[in-house]
Structures are given as structure tokens and as C-alpha cells.
């Protein structure tokens, strides 16, 4: 299936477990990647699903297999699944036999029990516990370091403090709340998650947003990428005590967020994207305004960030810190920015394009050194590509856009105003607040490339066309272990820098 399409559940035949395992193993070996592994209780056992991305064909393959509560673990042969299998164990108590390191990932107090931290014993070893309450204004997470002096032997990350039960809340939807849950899955990736949700629902309902709506979504997604990347470079700069870039980037990030506000009235893009379309149009005057402001922002960004990368002490600080090699990144199944910084060309915009990116997309940037420098520099490369892309696509309003002019902010239809007719008249084409009717007994998938990486939303409908289950894989879910790995053998004083260079989401992981 393609990104944002549906497939009837019965067309996913359960494979024999050994074939299931071989399929996953082959997928990783042949350069495809596993977007997710999840289970659905069925009868006495579980149906184990997995989504495999085939970048060469730009398709997604969904496979499944029936397993009992105890089944042979996939992790020993497909290491990138280790986090997923721990997740299953935590959720359902399934026991993957032979899993090398079975423990909960979200610190549930329930069935799965408490975390028993890995400990290094010895006279010279000391343990440093950081969090879950931190000194800065950041999300809660607990970090346990096993150190020998300044050197970190091992870092264990314990999350789960942000668990909200969003996936459970989404089950039974879509309803009036669903899209808001999607928008707040990770606050800094509102557009990315909302687009993935919209793709999924559109796929399940068989509707397609107008090209114009896809265009707006692409603009919003690239603005989100810009804002976060610029903010991150500023934050990295602050962590190493380099003031000028820190202050300027902080301000410029705000300017970019204001462009999103220009688009839809909210700086983080809430209420912009709805299944079926977008809620706000971008008429000529505001498009020109956006273009001219973007020009100014680009100039400011270039001067602030070039100063950063031209300063020798900055490069000396970043280079060689927290290295993750391409091989390790592949084994661990890293995605998005963290993977591209190791030289892997992984980008959902290229691999499984959706919406506007099917016709036009920025080239994939990679930088091969895998250290903090690479992660910072990759952000800079992507910032430049996003600016170029935005300039390109905002030159003209797409063809079918002869939209009636609406004052800003456009009047928002009431949520329960009933289904909009399919007529091609002005704004109604692009604005959607309707609840689309979903095809029953189907599986839908929506994948987008948020600024952090690949966002996967996958759900199946029951016989009434409601979500029977809903699963979300934020890029953070794939990448947290990469951070733990990057610290291995490093200095404990490098941790804040490494952490910021990954800048993973806690709530996106915990869900």
C-alpha cells in the first residue's frame, strides 16, 4: 500500500511466525526499514503486526502473524525491534523468549513492574541519577549514569512520566477530540502529527484533500521544521556557552513561529490541519506578506548560524562528541535527523512521499560523521533546503486555487455543521471540519517526516468504522536508545550537549 491508503484487514493474511520473522529480517537486510511493530489481542493470543517501508518502490508493506503469550523473540535477529518488543511486554505481558534485555520502557507500576536499573559494580564506579525533575524548563525523564570518574560506561534512560494514554483515548474515534489528541501528541510537532493523522483518516475514508490543502500542509510542515531546527541550533549554542547565536536563534525561532501564526492564527499550527483539508486559506496578500517576512528571516538566520559554524571553538566542542556510526544507527533503527547525521539517507519525504511531496520535495541532506557536530550541521543544511523549498513553492498559488477572498482570520465553521457537500465552490473545498466516514474493517496508515523524523500513525477500524486500535510511533520512540548509545564511553559533561543534539520528545515517546 502507499502512504495514506487503506487496506481491508482480511487482505493482510497472517503469516507463519517463522516467515514473519524472515520477512522482517530480509527487510532490514535489503535496506528497507521497519516503521513499527505492534500487537492486537485476539482470542487467547495476539496478532503481531509490522509495517515495512520499501523506499525503492515508495510503498508500505504490512505483515502480521498470530502469536501466543509466549513467543520466540525477534530482537536477537532483528535488533532494531528491541524497543518495540519491550513495549509489547509492557503493554500486554507478552513474553518474547530470548529477548536480551526485557524490561518496561515507560516505568509502569502495573503488571510489568518497576525498572531495575542496570548497574556497574566496582570500587571506582559511581552512579549519577539525573531527573526526572530537571534544572531547565524541559520535560521529565530520568537518566541513570554508570560512571568511572568523568567517563560514562553506561546510560540508562527511564521514561514514562509523560504517559497520558493518548492511544487508548483515540480508540473508538474519530470523534471531536481525536484531531486535538493528534495535534498534541508532541507539542513541537503539531503539524507533523496532525498531518499524519489526517492522512490516516483520509486513507481510511477514501477521500483526498485538494492539492491546495496539500500545498498549505507542506508550507506549514516546512515552517515547523525551520522553527525547531533554528531553535535547536540556538539551544545547542547556549549549552556550550556561545551567546550570540543563542540569543539570535531564540528570537528568529519566534519569528518563524509567527509565520505559522500568520497562516492559521496559532504559532504551533493548531487548528490548521483537519482530515479532508485545512481550515485556513492563504490568500495573495498574506502569501506576499509571508514571502517577504521569510526573506528577512532567512538573512538573519544565515548571519546567526554561519557565525556559529565559523567559530573554531564551537566546532572543537561539537566534533567527535557523542558519535553514532551509520552501522549502529541502522542496527538500532534510528530515523530522521539522527539517522541522516550518520550518513543514512532516510527521509519519509523521499521514501514514501505524501501530499504535496509527491510532486515536489526538497533534496535529502545527509552528513556522515554521526557526532553532535553532524546533528547540528545537518539541521543547518535542512534549514537551507527548507528555505529554498518554501521560496520555490510559495511563488505561485497552485492552479485550482481561485479561492474566494476571506478576511483573516477566516470564519471557522462550527464543528457540528454537518458534512460539507462535494461541490467545487471556493473555500469549502479546502476547509474541512467534517467527520469523514471511515471504511469498516480496514487498516490505514499515515507517515510524515516531522522535523525530528518519521512519524507513523497506524490504525484499524472495527465493523462500525471506528478506530478499533490506534498506534503512534513518534521518531523519539526509535531514537531514545540512540542517545543512550551515543553517551557510551563519552564524558558525562557531554550529556546535555548530546541530549540537545538529539532533542527527542518525552511525551511523543510516552504517549
Amino acid at each position: 500500500m502507499r502512504n495514506g491508503e487503506r487496506i481491508p484487514l482480511r487482505e493482510i493474511p497472517p503469516l507463519d511466525f517463522s516467515r514473519f520473522k524472515a520477512t522482517l529480517k530480509d527487510a532490514v537486510a535489503t535496506g528497507n526499514r521497519i516503521a513499527g511493530l505492534w500487537a492486537v489481542p485476539s482470542g487467547s493470543g495476539y496478532t503481531l503486526y509490522s509495517a515495512i517501508l520499501h523506499p525503492s518502490r515508495q510503498t508500505i508493506e504490512v505483515v502480521c502473524s498470530m502469536v501466543e503469550k509466549v513467543y520466540p523473540a525477534l530482537t536477537p535477529e532483528v535488533p532494531c525491534l528491541h524497543w518495540f518488543e519491550r513495549d509489547l511486554w509492557e503493554r500486554y505481558g507478552t513474553i518474547p523468549q530470548g529477548h536480551p534485555w526485557l524490561k518496561p520502557i515507560r516505568f509502569y507500576q502495573g503488571e510489568a513492574g518497576k525498572v531495575d536499573f542496570f548497574r556497574v559494580e566496582g570500587e571506582e564506579i559511581h552512579e549519577v541519577a539525573v531527573g526526572p525533575v530537571h534544572a531547565g524548563v524541559i520535560e521529565p525523564g530520568h537518566f541513570r549514569f554508570q560512571c568511572n570518574g568523568e567517563r560514562v560506561f553506561h546510560l540508562e534512560i527511564s521514561l514514562g512520566y509523560q504517559h497520558r494514554g493518548v492511544e487508548r483515548a483515540l480508540t473508538g474515534g474519530p470523534n471531536g477530540r481525536s484531531v486535538h489528541y493528534a495535534e498534541t501528541l508532541a507539542g513541537d510537532t503539531t503539524i507533523g502529527h496532525a498531518t499524519a493523522y489526517a492522512l490516516l483518516v483520509e486513507g481510511l475514508s477514501g477521500s483526498k484533500p485538494s492539492f491546495y490543502a496539500e500545498w498549505i500542509r507542506a508550507i506549514a510542515l516546512e515552517l515547523e521544521r525551520l522553527a525547531n531546527h533554528i531553535g535547536d541550533i540556538g539551544a545547542l549554542s547556549g549549552d556550550i556557552g556561545f551567546l550570540p547565536t543563542q540569543s539570535y536563534c531564540g528570537r528568529i525561532r519566534g519569528d518563524v513561529l509567527n509565520l505559522t501564526a500568520l497562516l492559521c492564527g496559532n504559532r504551533f499550527g493548531r487548528n490548521l490541519i483537519r482530515p479532508g483539508g485545512v481550515r485556513y486559506i492563504l490568500e495573495k496578500e498574506r502569501l506576499d506578506n509571508l514571502r517577504s517576512r521569510l526573506q528577512v528571516i532567512e538573512e538573519d538566520t544565515i548571519s546567526a548560524i554561519e557565525l556559529f559554524f565559523d567559530t573554531p571553538s564551537v566546532r572543537a566542542r561539537l566534533e567527535g562528541t557523542g558519535v553514532v556510526t551509520a552501522h549502529v544507527a541502522k542496527e538500532l533503527g534510528l530515523v530522521g535527523l539522527a539517522a541522516r547525521a550518520t550518513g543514512l539517507s532516510i527521509d519519509a519525504r523521499q521514501d514514501i512521499p505524501w501530499g504535496y511531496y509527491r510532486t515536489q520535495r526538497p533534496p535529502v541532506s545527509v552528513h556522515g560523521t554521526g557526532d553532535c557536530y553532524a546533528r547540528a550541521y545537518l539541521r543547518w543544511l535542512e534549514i537551507q533546503e527548507s528555505f529554498r523549498f518554501l521560496h520555490q513553492i510559495t511563488q505561485t498559488i497552485p492552479e485550482e486555487m481561485a479561492v474566494e477572498k476571506k478576511p483573516y482570520p477566516p470564519t471557522v465553521p462550527e464543528p457540528d455543521s454537518g458534512p460539507l457537500s462535494g461541490s467545487h465552490s471556493g473555500l469549502k473545498d479546502h476547509v474541512s471540519t467534517v467527520e469523514l466516514t471511515l471504511t469498516p474493517q480496514s487498516l490505514g496508515i499515515g507517515i510524515t517526516e516531522g522535523w525530528r523524523g518519521e512519524i507513523v500513525h497506524v490504525a484499524a477500524t472495527d465493523e462500525n468504522g471506528k478506530f478499533a486500535w490506534y498506534r503512534v510511533f513518534d521518531p523519539s520512540f526509535h531514537n531514545w536508545f540512540g542517545l543512550a548509545y551515543a553517551m557510551r564511553g563519552g564524558e558525562i559533561s557531554d550529556f546535555p550537549l548530546c541530549n540537545k543534539s538529539f532533542n527527542l520528545s518525552y511525551c511523543g515517546h510516552d504517549l
Partner: protein
């Protein structure tokens, strides 16, 4: 006189550095007198003591402050005699700075927190590397100038003689590195960071609060002033006008120093922790080369 200037102006000195950093970052920055406001605010607050701390923790800020004030009694205004002055007094001055550090390290260890222990270990390691540079520098000066008290050394360091003036430059650079490292300035430490894991000095005082914290902040300001005026004393060649002129020259030099520190903090990123020791070794080597120069 030096004592009064230090007691009154050392927080202002910090304020000037912050102002210059703000200028480079394109911000307005906090008021020049912010550190005074902070001290007043902290003095009015209550103190919170962790149940794992003992009397060591409670006494340490005041021992540190006493050590700093005593050190200031020894520190002369360049060209003038200090309150307490005797041959070899610079040894006592450095020993007092060591007492200051020792009491803070003890307090940090007393809390039993892994952060504070880490900070204490870093602080001790880096001062262990910085002390030789400091001592060696002043030994070279007293050797070259044949004066054995700070008063004599700082009276006119440039009288060291043409051929040997290079040694003075070396020592000036060496002292400047020590000054930045000992006072937890960028590129060695970041006084503004909130990242516990990267801190050196700041992480040691995380558990202090209220008047205790005020004592520690004030002590840090005094320490910066002490090392700063030593650096100004050997690096500035102007002496010998009237007393008031000398005070003005001294204060001008201190402002100049604040500007230099502010600029350095603005244009440099922090070095990684492991490299701090390299830089401090460089300071010691420079002082050693200066010694060779003087003898040779």
C-alpha cells in the same frame, strides 16, 4: 584602600562583565547593579538545610568569606603597601584562596549528593592544576624583581629589565588563564548554565540558599576581584602619579579587564571538560618558561 574598593565594587565588576556579554548577544541585559540586588534579596530570605548536612555545611560559606576578606587585607593596591605586608605574603594569599576552596569543597561533599561530589572533584582537580601556575608566576616575579612581598612585586613589575620583560608577558598570559579557570568563566566553565552535569564551581553550591548563598556569591565576586587585581597589577605599567590618579588608573584597568573577559566569553564557546586541564597545563608551562627566561 584596596580592601574597601574590593568590598564595595566587586559585585559591580561582575555586573560589567554581564553587561558586555549582553551587548554582544544583542540584548539589553540585566541592570549593572543586579548583583547587589541579588545579595540583598538573598540576605532577606530564610535558609533551607538538607537533613543530610552537618555543621560543616553551615559554616563553610562564612569560612570562605573570612578567607577572602583576609586575603584582601594582604592584597595591595598596585604601587602601595597593603594592610598586612611581609616577605613571602603571596604564599599566604594563595593559601587563603586554598582555604576558601577547601571549605566550599567540604560543604559540597557534606551534602552527599552525587552532583556536588562530581563538582567538588572537578574543582579540586582544576585548582590543583592551576596552583602551580600561580605560585610559579609569583616566584619568577620575586626572583626577577628581588622583592619578596606583594607590595614590592606589584610596585613596578616593569622594572624587571629590558631583556627579561618577555618573562612578564608570559606570566601575564599564564595568570589570565588561571584567572578565567579559577573563577569559572567561559571557556572553562559557564557561570550561567543550568546544566548540572557540565558545571564545575556552580554545582558545588547548588544546595546553599538564602544568606549562605549570598555569602558564597559575594565570596566568588571577591575572589574574581583578587585574581583580577593581581593580573592588573602585573600587566599594567602605569604607576607613580598621585594616589588618586593611581586609584583611577587601577579602576580603569579593572574595567578594561571586565571588557576583555566579557568579549572572551562572548566569542568563545566552552571547551570540553577534559581540555580544561590542557589549558591549565599550558598556564603552568608558560610560567615555567618564564622562570627559565629569568634564570637564563
Amino acid at each position: 584602600m584596596s580592601l574597601i574598593l574590593a568590598l564595595l565594587l566587586s559585585p559591580l565588576f561582575l555586573g560589567m562583565i554581564v553587561k558586555i556579554k549582553a551587548f554582544f548577544a544583542g540584548r539589553k541585559g540585566q541592570p549593572l547593579l543586579q548583583f547587589y540586588y541579588d545579595l540583598v534579596k538573598l540576605l532577606q530570605k530564610g535558609v533551607v538545610y538538607s537533613s543530610s548536612t552537618t555543621v560543616v555545611f553551615r559554616l563553610s560559606p562564612w569560612i570562605a568569606l573570612a578567607a577572602a576578606v583576609t586575603a584582601l587585607c594582604i592584597l595591595p593596591l598596585p604601587g602601595y603597601s597593603s594592610w598586612i605586608s611581609f616577605p613571602g605574603d603571596f604564599f599566604v594569599l594563595f593559601a587563603l584562596l586554598a582555604v576558601l576552596r577547601f571549605s566550599l569543597v567540604c560543604a559540597a561533599l557534606d551534602t552527599g549528593s552525587s552532583f556536588e561530589g562530581m563538582g567538588a572533584s572537578r574543582e579540586v582537580l582544576f585548582s590543583f592544576l592551576a596552583e602551580p601556575a600561580l605560585l610559579l608566576s609569583f616566584l619568577v616575579l620575586s626572583f626577577g624583581l628581588e622583592g619578596y612581598s606583594l607590595h614590592e612585586i606589584l610596585s613596578n613589575p616593569f622594572s624587571i629589565g629590558g631583556g627579561k620583560l618577555v618573562a612578564l608577558y608570559f606570566i601575564s598570559v599564564s595568570l589570565f588563564i588561571v584567572l578565567l579557570a579559577e573563577n569559572s568563566r567561559i571557556p572553562f566553565d559557564d557561570p550561567n548554565t543550568h546544566l548540572e552535569l557540565t558545571m564545575i564551581h556552580e554545582v558545588m553550591v547548588l544546595d546553599h540558599s538564602g544568606p549562605d548563598l549570598a555569602g558564597i556569591l559575594y565570596t566568588s565576586a571577591l575572589k574574581l576581584w583578587i585574581l583580577g587585581s593581581l593580573w592588573v597589577g602585573i600587566s599594567s605599567p602605569w604607576r607613580g602619579g598621585s594616589f588618586y590618579l593611581d586609584v583611577l588608573v587601577f579602576l580603569g584597568s579593572m574595567i578594561f579587564l571586565a571588557v576583555i573577559i566579557g568579549i572572551i566569553e562572548s566569542i568563545l564557546a566552552r571547551v570540553r571538560l577534559i581540555r580544561v586541564s590542557h589549558a591549565l597545563s599550558l598556564a603552568t608551562v608558560l610560567a615555567g618558561v618564564a622562570l627559565l627566561w629569568i634564570i637564563g
